[in-house]
């Protein structure tokens, strides 16, 4: 069987998350629990459905992954973009984006025009 991990969107903020080895839902695919067989995949899906019931995530599903250079990587391009962020905004990628607490506080900005 192709290796699989579980992805979903987090209910509260909608961000893409993955079922991690410690049972939590992480924003990064790197710590995902990987199913190597159908039975494990089914068990993970059951766990994800419970998380859906518990209002942690929405719409969980299995995605195909492969190990590339020691990294877990989705095999489908759509899932690769979900895992990394919009390809056209590297500044907003999962790796690079850091919320700016100052602007979030006020939203204010003076352009001086």
């Amino acid at each position: 069987m192709t290796q699989k991990v579980i992805s979903a969107n987090r209910l509260g903020d909608g961000l893409v998350v993955y079922l991690a080895t410690d049972g939590s839902w992480a924003e990064w695919i790197s710590g995902s629990v990987i199913a190597l067989d159908e039975a494990t995949a089914d068990a993970m899906l059951a766990q994800a459905r419970q998380a859906e019931q518990d209002r942690i995530v929405i719409d969980p599903y299995l995605i195909d992954v492969a190990e590339v250079d020691g990294q877990v990587r989705p095999t489908k391009y759509r899932e690769f973009i979900r895992a990394t962020g919009p390809s056209v905004r590297p500044d907003l990628s999962k790796q690079n984006y850091v919320p700016d607490p100052a602007s979030h506080e006020t939203g204010a900005h003076d352009t001086g025009v």
Partner: protein, 551 residues
């Protein structure tokens, strides 16, 4: 522009409170996602690839400076510092949090904005010519009737659960800048021989997987019957639309399958029954609404034209911007300034919060506090004195909003595509970026002339590829992004659908293919011919030959 009365404001405020409670119940577990999804969609909240997405309605593309400044503020506080202007003159935020959305919507309501009917099978945000009220070739400001339709269609109980979504576009000008022939209903204001105002009614246009140029079902509908006639069209559709198959549920399929003539008869029959009893505007209401769109007091004093001529003569870059991005205004001494949201290598339609603030400030100072959003994903300052244009341009320049490419090859429409959209099969934005970089040389772009290039990342055609002079459609071929090219489409008054030119190209061959097509056009065009004109004159053969060497 239109200002909410107490009824408008109460409706929007109550809706925010209702949604606040719905979000609370969802987070508390009182509503399942299945129960909540239709409720959030009715408030413009989608779940996209990376996060929730909020689609904010900008009725007929008109914004005040205060509203645009609020959109910038929201982008910073509740999103990631930018927004995306769409082909329906709306604004999309890509990263709002569900738990913060009620507060976000309350902020919008504070400036008379909302996200109602930006999703769902209802009458969507009504769109209009972005030059409404300022175009020289206009019969009437189409926003008067767009606003009347907005009020009539907002929470209309009979038309809240239509077979499918329903889009209405209105123009008051001969030149069609609102793509009215590819909408569910398109309205063109005109006057009859007696000088009475009325509308040409076009029904059943649209794009998506079954593109259609809509037929005219009535050449002239007297103005006073507008709402009863729309109601008749909607009733026929609501009764007979294909609710059993979402791919056949749009009115265009019904019009096509029934036949325009028979469909028209059905509408006319329905209309005969209701025309004198249907809900019409209360007496005085049309005038009350129209008064909001009275022309502002223009001040044509001074030597605007002379000063502009001097500024143009003194700065070649400014002169180029004026020649492409500035349009004639109906008032002496004024101009329409188009702001391109297509910088070379940029994301079509995206604007940062800083850019939005800058445009809002420019509008306040130089454009009577008004901004327009175009369906081609640009912004417009509609009332700029000619002698202020140079100052406007200099500020635009410092915010990278000065690209002189309106209507040229780099002024592309591109949908969000696979970078953001859950429905997309392929990316649109990176392709748009690469094409604009390939044609970065503005001299070359100007030599090529008007060329409407439009890119969609899937068959739903949000990027209007069917009506691009060159259209690009992303498809998924066994997990690979491929792109089908169409030629000869137009969304203007000479509307037509593009023809598929041949086999699709993989991502890394598309930019070369576009350049090949443009070069082929340059080789055979006659004097003064646009790309579209040459295609229409010669047909597909020279382009096929250039791309595939088939002859």
């Amino acid at each position: 522009m239109y200002i909410y009365d107490e009824i408008d404001q109460t409706l929007v405020d109550q809706r925010v409170n209702q949604f606040r409670d719905q979000v609370r119940r969802r987070i508390a577990g009182e509503l399942s996602e299945d129960e909540f999804k239709p409720l959030r969609l009715m408030n413009g909240v989608y779940l996209q690839l990376h996060a929730y997405m909020l689609r904010v309605a900008i009725p007929y593309g008109t914004l005040s400076a205060e509203q645009l400044r609020k959109l910038a503020w929201i982008a910073r506080k509740y999103d990631r510092g930018y927004g995306h202007f769409t082909t329906r003159q709306n604004l999309q935020y890509n990263w709002p949090k569900l738990e913060e959305l009620p507060d976000l919507l309350a902020e919008l309501a504070g400036v008379q904005m909302h996200a109602l009917q930006t999703s769902g099978n209802c009458i969507r945000n009504v769109t209009a010519d972005q030059y409404a009220g300022v175009a020289a070739d206009e019969v009437i400001d189409p926003r008067i009737h767009a606003e009347i339709i907005r009020q009539w269609s907002t929470l209309h109980p009979e038309f809240t659960f239509l077979p499918r979504k329903f889009k209405i576009a209105v123009t008051g000008a001969e030149t069609d800048r609102a793509a009215v022939k590819v909408h569910d209903i398109g309205l063109i204001a005109k006057r009859d021989a007696a000088g009475e105002l009325g509308f040409e009614v076009i029904v059943g246009g649209g794009q998506g997987r079954t593109p259609m140029v809509g037929p005219t079902i009535r050449d002239f509908l007297p103005e006073k019957y507008l709402l009863s006639y729309l109601e008749a069209v909607l009733r026929v559709y609501n009764r007979l639309g294909r609710r059993d198959n979402m791919y056949k549920a749009r009115i265009k399929i019904q019009v096509h399958e029934t036949g325009a003539e028979k469909f028209t008869e059905m509408v006319e029959r329905e209309w005969e029954q209701i025309r004198d009893t249907a809900v019409e505007l209360p007496a005085g209401e049309r005038e009350r609404i129209a008064a909001f769109f009275n022309p502002p007091l223009y001040d044509a004093t001074g030597d605007g034209a002379e000063i502009l001529a001097r500024d143009v003569a003194g700065d070649a870059d400014f002169a180029r911007w004026v020649s492409t991005n500035v349009a004639a205004h109906k008032a002496d001494g004024y101009a329409i300034a188009n702001i391109s949201l297509k910088p070379i290598g940029g994301v079509p339609g995206d604007a940062s919060a800083e850019q939005m603030d800058a445009v809002a400030a420019l509008a306040e100072r130089f454009s009577l506090s008004e901004i327009r959003v175009t369906h081609e994903q640009n912004l417009v300052l509609p009332h700029v004195r000619q002698d202020d244009l140079y100052a406007v341009w200099q500020t635009l320049k410092s915010y990278d909003l000065h690209t002189p490419n309106l209507g040229l090859v780099s002024d592309m429409i591109a949908c969000p595509g696979l970078d953001y959209c859950a429905l997309a099969n392929a990316r649109s934005i990176p392709l748009a970026q690469e094409i604009s970089q390939r044609f970065a040389d503005l001299d070359r772009q100007h030599d090529i002339g008007e060329l409407k290039l439009k890119i969609s990342g899937c068959i739903n055609a949000c990027g209007h590829h069917h009506v691009g002079h060159i259209g690009i459609l992303g498809v998924d071929r066994k997990g690979e992004e491929y792109y089908q090219i169409t030629l000869g489409g137009s969304g203007a008054e000479d509307a037509s659908l593009g023809d598929i030119i041949g086999p699709a190209f993989p991502y890394d061959r598309v930019v070369n293919a576009i350049e090949t097509l443009v070069d082929a056009y340059l080789g055979v065009r006659a004097d003064g011919e646009r790309f579209l004109d040459t295609y229409r004159r010669l047909g597909a053969d020279p382009f096929k030959e250039a791309l595939y060497g088939t002859h």
